[in-house]
Symmetry: C2
Subunit: 195 residues, 2 copies
């Protein structure tokens, strides 16, 4: 990772964020030093401060961009009018999007308490925006008679919690294919909101 001295502004920034992402995910924000991040990139610790005002901002940016990407990617999907079909889409989208970004997902859930209160509020607002997309589907299906849900707020959180569980055990090349996993979760989610 040794670097010759010189200017690399256009690539150093992204490399710092990549290194911080991987290290924060593996060891936790509080356990990772700026020197470790710098060593991974191949610069000295002082150089990091050309790209981030402080360590906290580095963490916040990683989480903020992840949540923005999540919301934008979901909004980009074709939206259907049928509630059951929309729920199926949501399940598939959620599983696939999150499995593609394990480090970002891990950080977004585990490092919330290391955000300053202002930064925390911003991330929380984005998370709620995403949850609201699911709740809207459940409400619509409930109104249309497609679902039978006692409490859509609880159901929203329960479905997301169930789906997030995939991240803790799924590994590519394991016993089940991604399609099979998606199908199994869709079955369970669908049943859980249907009489």
């Amino acid at each position: 990772m040794a670097r010759t001295q010189g200017s690399h502004s256009d690539i150093t920034g992204p490399r710092i964020r990549e290194a911080a992402l991987a290290l924060f995910a593996r060891h936790g924000y509080a356990a990772v030093s700026m020197r470790q991040i710098a060593a991974e990139v191949g610069v000295q610790a002082g150089a990091l401060y050309n790209y981030t005002p402080d360590k906290q901002s580095l963490l916040f940016r990683l989480m903020y961009e992840h949540m923005q990407d999540l919301i934008a990617a979901y909004a980009d999907q074709d939206q259907t009018e049928d509630a059951a079909e929309a729920l199926r889409q949501f399940v598939g989208f959620h599983i696939r999007f999150h499995l593609q970004r394990p480090d970002e997902v891990f950080i977004a859930y585990m490092e919330l308490r290391n955000l300053s209160s202002d930064n925390f509020a911003q991330i929380e607002a984005l998370r709620r925006t995403y949850e609201n997309a699911l709740e809207a589907i459940l409400r619509k299906g409930q109104a249309a008679g497609a679902f039978d849900i006692a409490d859509t707020k609880i159901a929203t959180l329960a479905v997301i919690a169930m789906l997030n569980g995939v991240m803790t055990w799924y590994r590519a090349g394991g016993r089940l294919s991604l399609d099979e996993v998606e199908q199994a979760y869709w079955d369970m989610v669908h049943r859980s909101v249907t009489a």
Copy 2:
């Protein structure tokens, strides 16, 4: 929290663990110093080492005792032969036990990566023991025709993930009573494993 000098061996140990539990849960293991724990108890940092060989052992003991308590408490319950009833019991037990110990639960999930590999293996074994209790219920119900489950391993993890979601939002005195929450989750869990 000031203390006069003297001997307090019988109460200092538990107070250290209580303080460590609360601080680890709030700020994270890596972000909490031995001095902070000592200050909370009202002793100097050096005195902590009369009760724990090091910081890592303090974390491990908290997690280990929590997992032992969980398994023992579940084993103490009356066990029924009926799979659906056993699942209902499991759901109620899991929600109530975990809601009574939010700090322990939080640490047991969030601080796994801060355990040494030996300690991690021990905690993982206990976690799997608990999961196996649920999987046994699902397998039995599947064999008896009470449940319709595509993959009991996935279903086990999905049910536990869904139930763990309660911890992230439930607060006593909120919109729903504990009984209502338990009922809502039982409905969803039961449906998710039934045709």
